[in-house]
């Protein structure tokens, strides 16, 4: 097992290399001068020139790339120009915030989605099924930035039930943070819930119609056990794939949600970094998100192996 994971870890290196290179190229392609962005509009020509030199931007691209690669290999993500702080520290402070949004959202989505999906599948063709599936369809089709706006409009502005901005502060008690989490989590959980519902439903349906479930029924196993134990477990792999994708998506896809709710997570960090042409920060944050993505994918594979031991992962030979 350990070795397996190690091998998988090695497999993610090329992807990360691509990510780092791509980010490097893309950041340098973004129009706009980081030096000017740092210095602000009032900077004079000389100020900008001086700053460029301090930032090492006067070097040829190839050597910048080389330096950056060496730096990354050493685990050094550099210093953010706009924050004047090490990138790693900045990211480390933001990750928990994003997780605070992403994990509960995904968890809620998973529980809700599985229940809805299973219920729908079991009652295939009934009113409940139709209702759930319509909801799920609306859910997957939802532009969440719009949903966010509407939620704020209704629940914060008109009803005044929930706060609208930021993530509150632990110093004001955990309740404060939770109150701040409600709307963004709802927003963030919408699509995953809907996706889980749909995928669970179709996957359960498929397995219900499969031979092994028929065989179980023929053996007189109770229907509830058949559904919630056997059918659910054999229906899990696609759900887990989606879980991985959604989790990875949540981690970074919170960009829109975070922007709307001014949530200080990775999403807003990156958007801010792009605005500020903060190369080191963009690169660092993207790399971390990509890393999260690949690691989650890897975990998905491992979980797959635990759940369904007879799955081959490679596309073939």
């Amino acid at each position: 097992m350990f070795k397996t994971i190690l091998i998988r870890c090695l497999q993610i290196l090329p992807s990360l290399f691509v990510v780092v290179t791509l980010t490097f190229i893309l950041t340098r392609m973004i129009p706009g001068d980081p030096a000017r962005a740092v210095l602000g509009p009032q900077a004079s020509v000389q100020d900008v020139q001086k700053m460029r030199e301090t930032m090492g931007l006067d070097q040829p691209l190839v050597s910048q790339y080389k330096d950056y690669m060496i730096q990354i290999a050493k685990g050094d993500f550099g210093v953010s120009y706009s924050y004047n702080q090490p990138v790693l520290g900045l990211i480390a402070k933001r990750i928990p915030n994003t997780l605070l949004l992403a994990l509960p959202s995904i968890l809620i989505a998973l529980i809700a989605g599985l229940s809805i999906g299973v219920t729908s599948a079991v009652r295939q063709g009934t009113l409940v099924d139709y209702l759930f599936m319509i909801l799920a369809l609306v859910g997957v089709s939802m532009p969440i930035f719009w949903l966010g706006l509407m939620l704020v409009l209704v629940f914060s502005v008109h009803l005044g039930w929930l706060p609208v901005l930021g993530m509150g502060s632990m110093s004001s008690g955990i309740g404060d943070v939770i109150r701040h989490m409600v709307l963004p989590c709802f927003c963030l959980a919408t699509i995953p819930t809907a996706t889980f519902s749909r995928i669970t439903r179709s996957s359960i349906l498929e397995s219900i119609h499969g031979d092994s479930i028929r065989a179980l029924r023929a053996r007189g196993i109770r229907e509830s056990v058949v559904i919630w134990k056997y059918a659910l477990k054999s229906a899990l792999p696609p759900v887990i794939t989606v879980l991985g994708l959604q989790l990875a998506g949540c981690f970074a896809g919170a960009i829109l949600t975070e922007t709307i709710f001014a949530w200080p997570g990775m999403g807003t960090l990156i958007v801010g970094a792009i605005d500020n042409r903060d190369y080191a920060l963009i690169q660092g944050a993207v790399l971390v998100i990509a890393l999260a993505f690949v690691i989650i994918n890897m975990l998905v594979d491992v979980v797959y192996m635990i759940i369904n031991p007879n799955v081959s992962y490679e596309g073939g030979f």
Partner: protein, 298 residues
């Protein structure tokens, strides 16, 4: 009633013909209620986009500052007006053009490139596969919206650039879908049959493998148009979309956001249009999948 004879060739033929007709993709789609609903929504949106000049006064950008922020039905404005007094319905109709065009364009860009790469990777296998797919994985590791944002920043605003940005970001997804499918199809016996005959790689790819993956691609593309519409709106919403003053649903939504309290209908209406269209494409995609998937035949 004349008895139907199972033995006679004709009634057998009859049945076959009927079945062929019933199994015709289009007829199957027509029988799929939800798909028809989706198709209707999509067609409606396409219609308002195409006939925008006919059903509106054709001046989506003409400003009347005095009439700013009217709501529904005021002064003959069906859906009210925006911050410059431009008729919202007109802008929504013209916005449909942009949103649909961008979504379709991006899907075509991403689709063509992705399909080609996926075909190549899946068919060639080995080192080509490894290289292409690692790059795709790398790109995929970028969160989609982030990649579009960065690409938009790199490319600058404008319709072609939005199409490119979303399209490029979509390439890996298409490539994955196609590659997965190619891996299945290329091991089908009929491909082996082709090999035994000695057909060329080119013919194999474009006569046998591509046609047999295309239904997956069509399904995926339909669903993808739905997400591309959202992506376009999201980009416009973040202020990275098409050029002013051209309307797109996202840019209307963005403007609506800035007057959420004064004129909530702007954001609401544009959002609803996006939502309905996306639902439409999703329904249609699901329908097409059901129709093309032999497992789902009723």
């Amino acid at each position: 009633m004349a008895k139907v004879l199972l033995l006679d060739q004709q009634s057998q033929e009859e049945i076959l013909r009927k079945e062929r007709k019933a199994n015709n993709a289009w007829n199957k789609l027509k029988r799929n209620k939800t798909a028809v609903l989706g198709l209707a929504a999509v067609c409606f949106m396409i219609a308002i986009a195409v006939f925008a000049p006919l059903i509106t006064d054709g001046k989506p950008n003409e400003i009347h500052p005095i009439d700013a922020y009217l709501t529904f039905f005021q002064k003959g404005h069906l859906l009210g007006t925006d911050e410059f007094g431009r008729d919202l319905f007109t802008r929504i109709c013209y916005g449909a053009r942009v949103s649909l065009l961008v979504a379709a364009g991006a899907t075509i860009v991403g689709g063509i490139a992705g399909v080609l790469l996926g075909l190549l990777a899946g068919y060639m296998g080995g080192i080509v596969d490894a290289v292409v797919m690692r790059i795709m994985d790398g790109v995929l590791a970028f969160p989609f919206i982030l990649l579009s944002i960065v690409l938009m920043t790199v490319l600058g605003s404008g319709m072609t650039n939005v199409i490119l940005a979303i399209g490029i970001a979509e390439i890996p997804r298409f490539a994955r879908v196609v590659r997965g499918q190619v891996l299945v199809v290329k091991r089908e016996e009929y491909c082996n049959a082709g090999r035994v005959i000695g057909i060329s790689h080119f013919r194999m790819l474009f006569h046998h493998i591509l046609p047999n993956t295309i239904s997956e691609v069509i399904v995926y593309a339909t669903l993808n148009i739905a997400s591309a519409i959202i992506s376009e709106s999201a980009l416009s919403f973040l202020g990275l979309g098409i050029d002013l003053p051209t309307a797109s649903w996202g840019s209307i939504l963005r403007a609506g956001r800035n007057s959420l309290n004064t004129a909530p209908h702007i954001a609401a209406v544009s959002g609803v249009f996006i939502l309905i269209t996306v639902i439409g494409f999703n329904l249609l995609g699901d329908g097409i999948r059901d129709v093309l998937d032999p497992k789902m035949k009723k």
